[in-house]
């Protein structure tokens, strides 16, 4: 097949347009660089009425929002989920790994939970605390200035609490708690677990003239047409274009590999245009990978050449290793005091108004690292699944289970808004053996070799999940609630969800000072090719008990400014 070369040479080619790629596009273009952004999915703008789902009613969908075609339901704004048509992945025997990919401009930032937590000082040096995993080659003080700028640039609500490992920032004021959240506060406090306002990148207050302010529809997962929540397109790429940034968007273009020269330096990328199914090449002085931790690893592993026979950046055989997702487990709780509610609009922001950061002292616990608690509940908008088994709730209040007619109508109303839930999101230990690698036998529909996952939880994570479930039961009891469903035992890993299900994959191109045990240096630059950088969560040496997006963006900002400065100094 003839490969078609574009004549234009870019200062930088950015692969992926989500949190990391979007930030790189913003910073590099605003510094005058000519950049190409190559995205494997179509163009997407939350404002576009053709694709918009925000404020749609369930009856506008014939399936009422069921998850037939989108894993998180009809109205969720992610094109692509744990399955993408024509783009499989495989797993080794005994591995149950789920890999979410959003194929669209802005990637997963269009539907994510907007939970925007800084990593704390301990999170960068956790080996010093418990001897497990590795320290990052950078510390909180290296990243703090970027977090500070990020808070102001993107906007995040929250509160300064002076906590040692959940740093303060530049916050917008949070929304007031909803009723079920007041019940959670009561239950958690009685259990000795602290609760503070949540930290979400949603604008409760104006930050500039271009983006709107939240109007409380509770649908951030549908992507906000007022740009009042953070999505990489609306908040990073479009504003940079508006400011005159030279950004060429290559959408529906799936990068296959990074091209290199005899010296082993990157010369650009090779990609498949999904529309005409032909292969093209783009030339650039610098290649910035922000395709997601696993996709960037895949591209590197598929970039084999005589100078990089094991894949680009993989002389250490570390690309794809140390893959880890957050741990997760959760419960649902029925609160009899929340029956027969007075009805009012409590949609609020799209996500929780309160949460519990990690409070525990691991020296007195049987597992390392921590987790935070997310809370859900309330009188949400009915969609597919609403009313399922509502009459069975009578079991808990001494009523008759079953029925039809007016009794059933009454049950729907009596129990509406009386169930809430808690979910733990915690830190796993990064392990050398947990990895993604190229499956030598399988290609996707573009002829590109696919990833194979090999991942197992250890007792560290299982015991953490056990602690989550036990804490949730105690909180439930202390708010007068009844836990729905059985308590998962050892045979079910105490409710620990499969890796990948929390969608926080990190670590596949981890940063470190030693080129033999890491893929990138502290500037997220490949040890093996100085003009290739990685700005997604691949370079994370360890995850924290926090969501990864805010750190992806702070680090992408830092790495991108370093690229500008190194280019100016003619170092790359």
């Amino acid at each position: 097949m003839q490969i078609i070369e574009q004549r234009k040479v870019y200062d930088a080619i950015i692969v992926g347009s989500g949190a990391g790629g979007g930030m790189a596009a913003n910073i590099l273009s605003e510094n005058g660089l000519k950049v190409a952004v190559v995205e494997a999915g179509p163009f997407f703008d939350p404002k576009d009425p053709t694709t918009m789902t925000q404020l749609k009613y369930p009856w506008e969908s014939p399936r009422r929002g069921a998850s037939t075609k989108r894993a998180f339901g009809d109205f969720d704004m992610s094109w692509g989920d744990w399955e993408v048509d024509g783009e499989p992945y495989t797993t080794k025997e005994g591995t149950d790994f789920k890999w979410w990919r959003a194929r669209m401009l802005g990637g997963r930032t269009n539907h994510w939970g907007r939970i925007s937590l800084r990593f704390g000082p301990k999170d960068f040096k956790h080996k010093d605390v418990d001897g497990l995993g590795d320290n990052w080659p950078i510390s909180y003080s290296d990243v703090k200035p970027y977090y500070d700028r990020l808070d102001k640039m993107i906007g995040v609500f929250g509160t300064n609490e002076g906590l040692p490992n959940d740093p303060d920032g530049f916050f917008l004021p949070p929304p007031k708690p909803r009723l079920h959240e007041l019940y959670y506060i009561k239950g958690a406090r009685k259990t000795g677990i602290p609760v503070i306002p949540s930290r979400l990148s949603i604008l409760t207050k104006r930050i500039n003239a271009d983006r709107g302010v939240c109007f409380y529809c509770g649908q951030c997962n549908r992507s906000c047409n007022a740009y009042a929540d953070f999505s990489a397109g609306s908040c990073l790429i479009f504003p940079a274009q508006k400011n005159g940034g030279q950004i060429d968007l290559y959408t529906n273009c799936m990068v296959k590999n990074v091209t290199t020269n005899k010296e082993g330096l990157a010369t650009g990328v090779s990609y498949i245009n999904k529309e005409d199914r032909r292969e093209y090449e783009l030339s650039g002085k610098v290649v910035v990978l922000g395709a997601s931790a696993c996709s960037s690893a895949r591209i590197l592993l598929n970039s084999k050449s005589s100078t990089h026979p094991n894949g680009l950046g993989n002389s250490s055989d570390h690309v794809g290793r140390y893959l880890h997702d957050s741990t997760g487990a959760g419960i649902s709780v029925f609160v009899p005091d929340l029956m027969n509610r007075k009805i009012y609009n409590e949609d609020g922001v799209g996500g929780m108004h309160v949460y519990s950061p990690w409070w525990g002292d691991n020296s007195r616990l049987d597992f390392p690292r921590g987790y935070h608690i997310e809370v859900w509940g309330g009188m949400g908008m009915p969609s597919y699944g609403f009313g399922y088994n509502v009459e069975a709730m009578n079991e808990y209040v001494g009523g008759t289970t079953g029925g039809y007619g007016n009794k059933l109508r009454d049950d729907v109303k009596r129990f509406y808004g009386s169930v809430l839930g808690m979910a733990g999101r915690g830190e796993a230990i990064a392990r050398y053996d947990n990895r993604c690698e190229i499956d030598p036998k399988v290609v996707d529909e573009y002829g590109i070799p696919v990833l194979r996952f090999d991942y197992k939880w250890s007792d560290y994570e299982r015991l953490q999940a056990k602690h989550m479930i036990e804490s949730f039961h105690e909180i439930a009891h202390n708010m007068g609630g009844i836990v729905l469903g059985d308590k998962p035992g050892k045979d079910k890993d105490y409710g620990l969800l499969a890796p990948g299900q929390i969608i926080h994959e990190v670590g596949t191109t981890r940063m470190g000072d030693n080129p033999k045990t890491s893929v990138t240096n502290k500037w997220q630059q490949l040890h093996d090719a100085k003009n290739v950088f990685i700005v997604d969560a691949g370079p994370f040496t360890s995850q924290a008990d926090k969501n990864c997006t805010w750190t992806i963006m702070a680090l992408s900002m830092r790495a991108s400014e370093n690229i500008v400065s190194e280019l100016k100094k003619m170092n790359i």
Partner: protein, 237 residues
């Protein structure tokens, strides 16, 4: 126009967010034009998803008798009240007709359950369920509409699980319509300003906001003032 066709038109109308008061017979061309006018099928679909919807809608699954039996059951589950319409008024049978084709693992249990119901009805009354009197229908329903934890009616077990499925689909189909929203009282999904739980609700639940917590929360009067901070992260505006 045949009932099957009418169901299809109703569903297509639902997708397109039709505003016409009555759905009459439409030529294929008219229908096609309407769908093209509404980009994304009216609910933000991608081209691939639109194709999927069209494929689902083009399939015939239930026969006339099955659809009519579904309608009878739907209205036993949710009959009309003084203030709210019935399940068939809300178009629940049409929703069920679509969803079992969209989620094919619903097909066999539902079709088999209908067959079980007719079998039971034939055994008792020598008639199909649809052709029974209302009293006869209710006498069967009363045997399958409640949980049977002690297994006192083992022969009814398939009926109980079928009725449970029908009840779930009917509730979901009903409460995801405008009629269902009105019956429930749901008032969200619109721009508004959240400013906390109403005072009387706080009182009813014997909870309150702590002054120090609430002091940190957004004052909705200042939401339009562009945020500025001092160097320590204290908000100034």
């Amino acid at each position: 126009m045949k009932r099957r066709e009418s169901l299809k038109t109703l569903i297509v109308g639902g997708v397109a967010g039709a505003t016409v008061g009555s759905v009459g017979c439409k030529s294929e061309t008219q229908q096609k034009i309407k769908n093209e006018v509404l980009p994304g099928g009216g609910y933000g679909r991608t081209p691939a998803e639109l194709k999927h919807d069209a494929l689902v809608m083009s399939e015939d699954y239930f026969n006339k008798h099955e659809l009519e039996t579904i309608a009878v059951l739907c209205d036993i589950i949710l009959p009309s009240t003084d203030s709210a319409g019935s399940a068939t008024d809300a178009g629940v049978p049409e929703f069920i007709e679509f969803i079992v084709k969209d989620l094919p693992n619903q097909k066999s249990p539902l079709r088999g359950g209908l067959m079980w119901l007719d079998g039971e009805s034939n055994r008792r009354f020598n008639k199909r369920f649809q052709d029974c009197t209302q009293d006869q229908q209710i006498s069967i329903v009363d045997d399958i509409a409640y949980a049977d934890k002690d297994n006192r009616k083992p022969n009814m077990a398939p009926g109980i699980s079928f009725f449970n499925r029908m009840r779930n689909l009917t509730l979901t189909g009903y409460y995801t319509t405008k009629m269902g929203f009105d019956d429930l009282g749901y008032v969200g999904n619109r721009p508004n300003l959240w400013d906390g739980v109403p005072a009387e609700v706080l009182k009813d639940h014997e909870v309150d906001y702590e002054p120090e917590w609430i002091a940190k929360c957004i004052n909705q009067d200042s939401r339009e003032a562009i945020a500025e901070w001092d160097e320590n992260g204290n908000l100034l505006t």
